[in-house]
Amino acid sequence: MFTKKQIVQWLQAFASEIHENKDYLTELDAAIGDADHGINMDRGFQKVITQLPNIADKDIGSILKTVSMTLISSIGGASGPLYGSLFLRASITAAGKEKLTEIDIQKLLQEGLQGVLQRGKAKPGDKTMIDVLSPATVAFEEAVGSGKNMSEAMQQMVAIAEKAMKDTIPTLAKKGRASYLGDRSIGHQDPGATSCYLMLKSLSDSYSSTVNN
């Protein structure tokens, strides 16, 4: 069970992860994009951080909706609408909720994934954040389906996400800026896939570090 507090802690932890990895994400984007992914994500999530105190009391759906709107209006680029859509769709499934069960989280991931797919029209294998989000969602689903608890399912999801992130290295980009590079996109890890991994990892970490509260 994720409490609202844990969700807020996750958002804070994710923002910190992004902030710490800002240069790293930007360097990844420099190799196959336009050198701003870390800057973009950090701009958005620093804005989110300033708003969290005002909304921490609302229901999880409202919190995620505010995150979505903040990201959409402050990131821009590709990641703004994509993460914005992810959080928007997630917020709808979490509307009115104060805590989230394994099944809630599963729906939230599925809906978030759908949001990104619909907005970005990328397919798995196109070397985008989808390449992490999609298998990670499946992994969580399977874990929950086979009776694993939240903590175990999270760990399974993160393990798959990490592998999937690395698996973007050898692929050829078909969406996003990296696709303009053609073959030269091969051999580089996708920045969006990396930030997506950080999102899932911080979700898992926030759960395990606070599971006793």
């Binding site: 336009d34 701003d36 821009g76 590079l181």
Partner: protein
């Protein structure tokens, strides 16, 4: 990083502030959300033309706001698409009742943000069309990928459609014209040096003293191929011939359908250039290129076009769609028809382009 700036995070805002006071006779600037708009907007009864994209391409787009060109421009962070709220606010500010054309360059970010903006504007009761520019022949395949980037043709489309809107074309006519300009324009660019995004503080890529990037976009991204340094004539030849010999290019593009209030996929194909074509030739500097070098390129380009039996009837030589302080150039060729010539020649009065008034 050596730039004339203060804090990197203030780069866009301070650029806009400077523009606003330098050109207060032509434009106004709204902050948060950021957009530049005609000082005399909204123009009742005129279709409003709005464009936008990342900053760092100055004078595009803000420098093209004014009489006979754009009604508003939405600048994002450097090389980062602006956000839907900017585009919506701009539309609300300049819509004169006859609708808004969003001219969008084909990048994932721009497309997604403008799509969201379109949906928001429609929800506000504003008539909207959005037309994509995807003219960069350096990007070869379109199937299953993002397709071609929008580059130099954007400037030409904004001028021509701006004149059309000024002349009283309705929204559908301006949109059709914009699509036609895009289908008749092709571009390609190259870089002698990289550029430095202020917030990053170091060059996006490293180029050796004897290396150039061929087939770059406008975001400091590496090009299609790294090559050894070439003479101006060789550069002009590579760019011009790739453009001229580009075969017919097909892709599927999403446009907003007003009648059904839905996104529809359109299959569009441009026809290759041919002998006898009348052209607008645009030699563009990437921001750090001296004007003298652009003329050297133009000289060779004119020669190549003449040899191919094509006639340059209009030209533009200067730095209009740039990548910060990057050195390099791009070439855009646009096949003109009489209507386009007339609209190109029509008066324009903006910070960066002006004639006839």
């Amino acid at each position: 990083m050596k730039k004339l700036l203060n804090k990197p995070e203030d780069f866009v805002r301070e650029t806009l502030a400077g523009m606003a006071i330098a050109h207060s006779d032509l434009i106004k600037v709204n902050f948060e959300p950021n957009f530049i708009y005609r000082a005399d907007a909204p123009k009742t009864g005129k279709v409003a033309i709005i464009s936008g994209g990342g900053s760092g391409h100055e004078p595009m787009h803000g420098g093209f706001v004014g009489r006979g060109m754009l009604d508003a421009a939405c600048p994002g962070e450097v090389f980062t698409s602006p956000t839907p709220d900017q585009m919506l606010a701009a539309a609300q500010a300049v819509n004169g009742g006859n609708g808004v054309l969003y001219i969008v360059k084909n990048y994932s970010g721009d497309i997604m943000n403008f799509e969201m903006a379109t949906e928001l504007a429609v929800a506000e009761g504003i008539q909207v069309q959005n037309i994509l520019i995807d003219d960069d022949v350096a990007v070869k395949d379109s199937l299953y990928t993002q397709g071609r980037r929008g580059v130099g043709t954007t400037v030409l489309a904004e001028k021509i459609c701006g004149a059309a809107a000024e002349a009283g074309y309705d929204l559908k006519q301006v949109a059709d014209l914009c699509r036609r300009v895009n289908l008749n324009g092709r571009s390609m660019g190259m870089a002698l040096t990289s550029c430095t995004v202020p917030a990053k503080g170091s060059p996006t890529f490293e180029l050796g003293n004897q290396e150039i990037e061929m087939g770059i976009g406008i975001h400091g991204e590496p090009g299609r191929e790294r090559m050894s340094l070439k003479s101006a004539d060789e550069v002009a030849e590579t760019l011009a011939l790739t453009i001229i010999e580009d075969s017919s290019y097909s892709r599927t593009i999403r446009e907003w359908d007003e009648s059904t209030a839905e996104w529809v996929d359109k299959d569009l194909t441009n026809t290759p250039f041919a002998k006898g074509d009348k052209l607008l030739a645009f030699v563009n500097g990437m921001g750090g290129t001296p004007q003298s070098e652009l003329y050297i390129i133009y000289r060779k380009l004119a020669d190549i076009c003449a040899k191919k039996g094509m006639e340059i009837v209009r030209n533009l030589v200067g730095s209009y769609i740039t990548s910060l302080e990057m050195q390099g150039c791009s070439i855009t060729l646009l096949k003109l028809d009489q209507e386009m010539v007339k609209l190109w020649d029509a008066p324009v009065l903006t910070p960066a382009l002006r004639w006839g008034v």
